[in-house]
């Protein structure tokens, strides 16, 4: 053992100095290089894992949203169809109502016209009667050349006409 120490000049002070050197190396490497790099590597791994999870969640959300959209769209379609059919029915009703009213109005107008015509006809008949009476008088006067008094005359004519 002695000869070994002598041969290789093993010196406790040098041993301790080299241990100290190595301790410094461990400290430097650990605090300045390995710790920050390992921390960053871990952080990156976590970030990537989280983004992957997030991506799955986002995809799921998107699917949900899409389904919701489709559902809403269908609902809207249904509602629109309902509104359309309701509007159609309403319009039909309104049309019928208007038609009815128009018919009524036309009926009224026709009645009014009929009444007017009736009155006019009566008037005309009356006038015709009067002129025919005059004509008959004058013709009869000429025929019989005798003038009855106006009262007899008129009665005669009336009986003739009738």
């Amino acid at each position: 053992m002695e000869s070994l120490i002598e041969m290789f000049h093993v010196d406790v002070k040098l041993l301790i100095a080299q241990m100290l050197n190595f301790a410094i190396v461990i400290a430097i490497l650990y605090f300045f290089a390995l710790k920050p790099i390992l921390a960053v590597m871990r952080e990156r791994t976590e970030k990537i894992e989280k983004s992957l999870q997030d991506a799955v969640a986002i995809e799921e959300n998107m699917k949900k949203t899409e389904a919701l959209c489709q559902h809403e769209f269908n609902e809207a379609k249904k509602a629109a169809a309902l509104i359309m059919s309701q509007a159609g029915a309403e319009a039909e009703k309104k049309r019928e109502k208007m038609l009815l009213r128009t018919k009524e109005e036309i009926g009224e107008i026709i009645n009014e016209e009929k009444e007017k015509m009736r009155l006019e006809k009566a008037q005309v008949l009356k006038e015709i009667k009067a002129s025919v009476t005059d004509l008959v008088i004058s013709v009869t006067e000429k025929v019989i050349e005798k003038n009855l008094d106006s009262k007899d005359n008129k009665e005669l004519i009336k009986s003739m006409i009738k």
Binding site: F8, M19, F22, I26, L29, L34, K35, L38, M41
Partner: protein, 278 residues
């Protein structure tokens, strides 16, 4: 007194490759050797590199951070093969990776031109002796021994933390094996033979721990020192061209030795933190 000593064979200057690191100067009672000078340079280089990396660390990696992260990932992959669990790999990683980096830099610093060839002439025992200013840090048993002691002691500390002091103590001085005998002898009479053997195996483990330190330190020292001698010998044959393949060889050897040392430490850490299985 200093001069370029490459290929200088003037006078009777001895160019022997010593097994030990030569002293360069003294600070009080502390002898500064050429290998500890080199180790200080290595520490400084690691400091500069670490500060540089620290400044560049971003969540989105760029440039040197990518390289460093790739190295870390590869190492964690290798460590997982030994420890069988990522959390344990991460726990041991700073210590074991520091071994790797420190030894790698020290080994490679030994190959640099000028290391081992620039120095001064000293007088020892009335003879002129060439003393290089720098010597690869791991080409000195003091360095490798210090590293091996730290590694083995750390493995014991981790073992005590993982298993508890009493259980860990019984791995070596197996008192529990003897205490078990009266309790279990009715069920299993063979225990009276088996447990003393277990206790004896525990004692052998103590020798094993010393052997670990010796094998770690001498393996590293031997390889690196042999490499330096090899390069010096090749340069002595012909300084141009001939050493080139051997320099590449030493680059690889330096890396492999650093890897072997750190993976062995990792294996010791893993073994000592696992409960013994029977």
């Amino acid at each position: 007194m200093s001069e370029h000593a490459e290929n200088s064979n003037q006078g009777s200057v001895s160019h022997e490759h010593t097994l030990y690191a030569e002293p360069i100067f003294h600070v009080g009672a502390f002898t500064v050797t050429n290998s500890i000078l080199n180790s200080w340079i290595v520490v400084f280089l690691i400091l500069v590199l670490s500060l540089f990396i620290r400044r560049k660390v971003r969540i989105v990696p760029k440039g040197i951070q990518n390289v460093f992260e790739m190295v870390i990932e590869k190492f964690l992959g290798i460590f997982d093969l030994v420890t069988q669990s990522r959390s344990r790999s991460l726990k041991f990683f700073p210590l074991v990776f520091s071994f790797f980096i420190f030894i790698l830099f020290s080994n490679w610093m030994g190959i640099l031109p000028g290391v081992g060839s620039i120095g001064q002439i000293a007088y020892a025992h009335g003879e002129k002796v060439f003393v290089p200013y720098f010597r690869g840090g791991t080409a000195d048993l003091n360095t490798t021994l210090a590293l091996a002691i730290i590694g083995v002691v750390a493995s014991h500390i981790f073992g005590i933390i993982a298993l508890g002091a009493w259980r860990y103590f019984n791995k070596f001085i197996n008192i529990r094996a003897f205490l078990e005998i009266p309790k279990k002898i009715r069920k299993d009479p063979m225990i009276i033979f088996v447990n003393p053997i277990k206790a004896f195996v525990g004692l052998i483990e103590i020798i094993g721990e010393i052997a670990k330190v010796a094998s770690l330190s001498f393996r590293l020292f031997g390889n690196v020192f042999a490499g330096e001698v090899l390069l010096a010998s090749m340069s002595a044959i012909l300084a141009f061209g001939v050493p080139l393949p051997f320099i590449f060889l030493e680059v690889i050897v330096g890396m492999i030795q650093a890897l072997i040392f750190s993976v062995l430490i990792l294996a010791y850490l893993t073994m000592n933190t696992s409960a013994e299985e029977h």
